[in-house]
Amino acid sequence: MVLLLLIVIPLICAGLIVFNPREQAKYIAAGGSLVSVVFGVVALAAFNWSQGGMDQLTFTTPWVPALGLNFDIGADAVSLLLIALTILLGPICVIGSFTAVVENQKTFYAWLLILQSAMVGVFCARDLVLFYICFEFTLIPMYILIAMFGSSNRRKASTKFFLYTFTGSVIALAGFAYVAWQHSVFTGEWSFNMAALGETARALNASQQAWVLLALMAGFAVKVPLFPVHTWLPLAHTEAPTAGSVILAGVLLKLGTYGVYKFALPFAPAAVLDYAPFMAVLAIIGIVYAGLICWVQTDIKKLVAYSSVSHLGFCMLGLFAVNSVGVTGSVLYMISHGFSTGALFLMIGMMYERYHTRSMKEVSGLGSKMPVWSTFMVFFVMASVGLPGLNGFVSEIMCLFGTFQSGPWTGQAGVTPGATFGMLGPVFAAFAGTGMIVAAIYLLYMTGKIVWGPTREPDDHHAHEVLPTDLSAREIGVLLPLAAGCLVFGLYPAPLMKAVEAPVNDTVAYVQSLNTGDTGRVMVWTAAHEDDHGSDHNADHGDTHTDEHAQDEHSEDHSGEGH
């Protein structure tokens, strides 16, 4: 129920904004998002963190019963943490935009809140159709935010963002639809319950799973974004307004990784192991390639945008390591990246508000001009670099660790107790590790240009009429929670690890249990599954299938004769 509130409250506030005067829009938005935070805390408090399945804080009501559609929401630890991230970024984005958005305030804040609802909906959906609707619906507010409030090239950016990600997710929809169809063939009734479909998907044979995986990855990889399909991101980030960038980097990209975690791994476990090296190679290329591209950027927002590509590569790597450390690291990465990169975008926005440029060639050496800003900047850069003690390190090193463990170690059983089954390994980890060096190179290059060095300002620079030279109290207030989050996350992440341990271990244990060879995978799974969960899925799946099919034909004939 509290999750429903988290979805509904922003929507109500968006409605209030529409029907209230323009001047009140931002206060309503701030109030609404803060109320959401309160309920988010309630949700966190009410949650039982030691439990695995996605069956807490549920709310279900029939939607289209004929198709087995339910409005079905609930959470496990992973999704609840992502929801928490979403609603934490909510007020930060709203309050951070107080001075940046001057025109069309009602539109801006209303869509921002709607976007928040949609994102919460994605993370708590238990029904595939609900998930997909929310997943796609996030595009619309984001499109409007970019297209209406972006910078000069916003039309191209927003169109590209929309079409690119939309195309990808339509392919994912095909994958979903295939699984749902198979489910209806197996069981004779339509259902879009994610758990039920997961069961069905696992029963598919290896090649079917491979196709399902590829279809899902087509959608999620674009969203993440993975290497060859990343080009929408820098453009969208560069053109988006600050709040849009924060949400985009902080949450929207996580829809992709969350999708991989929630669907690709459990829906196609056999194929995941087959395709892990391929995906990992793409991720590693992304890490290094995007990192090096960052280095030669002059627009710092573009730099940070490319850095997201690089960082999310680690996240994907951890997921495809398919072991506890890797997947946990990946989940933590989703959250931690939201903090540090979101904060970096905010910082850039604050600078942009004052100087109306983001080019390192025009602005540099702000260390003496804006010491507080610079302090925060260095802090968040360090978080992003992956400095131990801050959030980036925890997740990054776990992703690398997971990748490293997940290797060809099994031949030496007993000799390598820390190893797990997997398709990656030390070579992957080593190559990905070079990303750490590259990250240091480009982020310190940026810091060296923009924070350190002799002060340089644009020629036509005037003091902002509202904002002080350095950060205002409001801006510091926006940044402090993020900074505190980075610090706490970096120094005391153990509770988070414990929190996601149960769901992650479930997923991983499942995929790992398939490692007994190529031919027997599905069989092994079926047997294991029966042992685990009783007999709601029969071993003679194929038989029931054919029987039903025969019946179908029979009844058709019958009706035909009736005429």
């Binding site: 590209k160 690119y164 060859p228 399909v229 990343h230 080009t231 390639y289 090096l292 591209i293 280095w295 030669v296 506890s324 450390v325 946990t328 050496g365 260390g367 260095v378 360090m382 400095l387 131990p388 003690g389 390190f393 925890v394 090193i397 776990m398 690398l400 660790f401 490293f404 463990q405 290797g407 030496q412 000799v415 390598t416 107790p417 820390g418 190893a419 030390p426 980890a429 080593a430 590790g433 070079t434 750490m436 060096i437 240091a440 310190l444 060296g448 350190w452 060095g453 002799p454 002060t455 120094l491 005391y492 992440p493 153990a494 690890m497 414990k498 341990e501 271990n505 991983v508 244990a509």
Partner: protein, 756 residues
Amino acid sequence: MTSISPTLASMADTALHVGSAPAWVLAIPLLPMLAVVLNTFSAIFRVKTKLPAWITIACLAGSFLATAFAFMTLSGQTNVATGWKWFDLSWGAGQGQQFIADFGFYIDNLTLLWMLFVTGLATLIAVYASEYMEHDVGKGYTRFFVAFGLFVFSMTCLVMGDNMLMLYLGWEGVGLCSYLLIGYFYKKPAAVAAAKKAFIVNRIGDLGLAIGVMLTFVHFGTLEYAQLFQSEQLAGYIAAVLEGRAGDVPLMAQLIAVFLMIGAFGKSAQFPLYVWLPDAMEGPTPVSALIHAATMVTAGVYLIARMLPVFLLSEWALPVVAWVGTFTALLAATIGMAQFDIKRIMAYSTVSQLGYMFAGIAMLSSVGGVYHVVTHAFFKALLFLCCGAVMHGFAGQLDLRKLSGLWHMKGWRVVSVGMLVGCLNLAGVPFTAGFFSKDMIIAEAFVTPGYGYSLLGWTLLFTAGLTAYYTFRVFFRVFTGPVQYEPGDEHHGEDDHSHDHAQDDAHGHDGHSHEDHAHGHDHFHPHPPRFAINFVLATLSVLAVLAAGLYFVSPEKHGWVGDMLEESTAHNLYTADHSAAAMFLIDGDAHAAHDTHADAAHGEHAAHGSILGFNPHEVMYYISAIFGLTGIGLAAYLHGPRGMVSGFLGNRVEAGKCRMDAVAKAFDPIPRWAENKWYVDEFYHFLFVRPLWVVSYIFQTIDKLLVDGLVNLFGYLPRLLGRGAQPGQSGVLHGYALSMAGGVGVILFIVVLVTL
């Protein structure tokens, strides 16, 4: 297992007792952290006094006292104090199925030894910095001390961490502080570049370390020292090595040491990753003294000492370390000889001495290596602080050609004496601490059998001579001779910084220094150090001298340091068995262990190596003294002032001219190349940085044209199709109606045909 030597077995036994340390031990790392927090509040409230310095000094002194107390109560034991859980993840109950790393601290003698000099020196240098940085009070002062405190905290994590991830945290944490402090004068592009370089080069090493840590976890299933060093697996490997079955150790396990070694090379500025350290001298001098001479750069030595059992598994790791260390020592010494910036000379000297430490520990003289760390920490900190005092007094002047005769100047006596003490130590003049520690290393090179180790020994001896030469070159040029000086170029360095802010709030300055800077060169008066700096220099001088005494504490264990290391991982195979163990590494001769382990350790060494037919440990005192004194003599002859030693040796009468000029001219290109650091930086730039930059640009182009271009092409396809279909859209209603009707007709027609 049966044939492991009893000593080894007993070693394994003693290492098993891991107790839990009392909670107050946590004060050692947390007091510096407290200083950081308090100083952050100082920054928030914009404190414009020296309060941050006092806070830092108090906290660091408290930390030192806690360490000292720990030394008194806990030495000889191995204890773990856990703060809180940091990484905590499990996916099974078996070994290696938990990913656990606590924010905890591992306290054994090695840790205590390190922490004693780290916290002690940090406290002293904080006192020094409180005066040295005073021109920045109200501005960078707080920032400086925040980073300073953070550094000490990180260093405690590095040294005391009870698992490898804590080590990694400290490892990168000190890197961050190093970055922040090198870039302290952030308006100077050189400082910014140096800071960046330091961080990035360190990161390369860090990657090696990270891979080493991962390999360790995969192989031993744990990251915690306590479990690692107790693990039967490790004991089994070591046994295999000792029995000459080195091939039984899996390749991957051997690689652990190799990767850890890369990390150590990065942090401790060994070839090829040493290039950042000389540039790091752009930071304030107290920083150079503490971080880039005494403590942080010795982290690599600590790492090898801590992980020595793992290093023993590898056939190549330790020999490579020995060779690289020796080569670095020689290379850095040659560069140091040709520099004119006294701080850079000290920096290269540091690189060189670190090479000694690495060589020492790699030649299985962990005592020698660690002892050298300790003595070097004192005398090199002293040297740097003296250089800093000079720099401070002469407005940033560091060129030895422009300074002369400080000994004779009023107020500079403490500095001069301190410098002399430091130089004597560094040059290895007999009966100084540096003399003893260096001798241990060099002698070990002749004792330990290994691939060309005696060649390394001679190289190290030769390098010792070079060291003496360049050390006293500085001393003779700057502190003796006629009183001459030129003020430094104030527009680089910290004073530049203060100028900028002078207009903003002048009252934040103490008038004295401000006046000096404002007046410029015509009326330049050097200001000699005041109480705080002199006090620290004096204290350090005394300590540097006294450090020699450690050699005579418990001599049966090679001095106090040997005593300390005996109860730690660094001891491992040393005292009793070390040469034997080394022999197994090299020769695989299992029986020798039984023959030798019972013998007295000292007498045994002679059997394995000699120098010119003598026992190296006995004759090394003389040989190295000869090399050292020769170097000093050469320095005196080439750089000494006229009138020194009855006018016999030197002939220098003004600051910038000496006999060396002619010599340098005679050997023309070589000194110039050496002065330009053998063009290694340029080589790296050409070989790595530039290509990477070009590749980045190529990638960017590819991204724009190829990757994005393909996408845009797909985006363009519908438009092309649309162009093709456009004529159909006449916009006339009839057309649409007609095509609709026709379409329905055609579809139905198809239905008719199909259902025929």
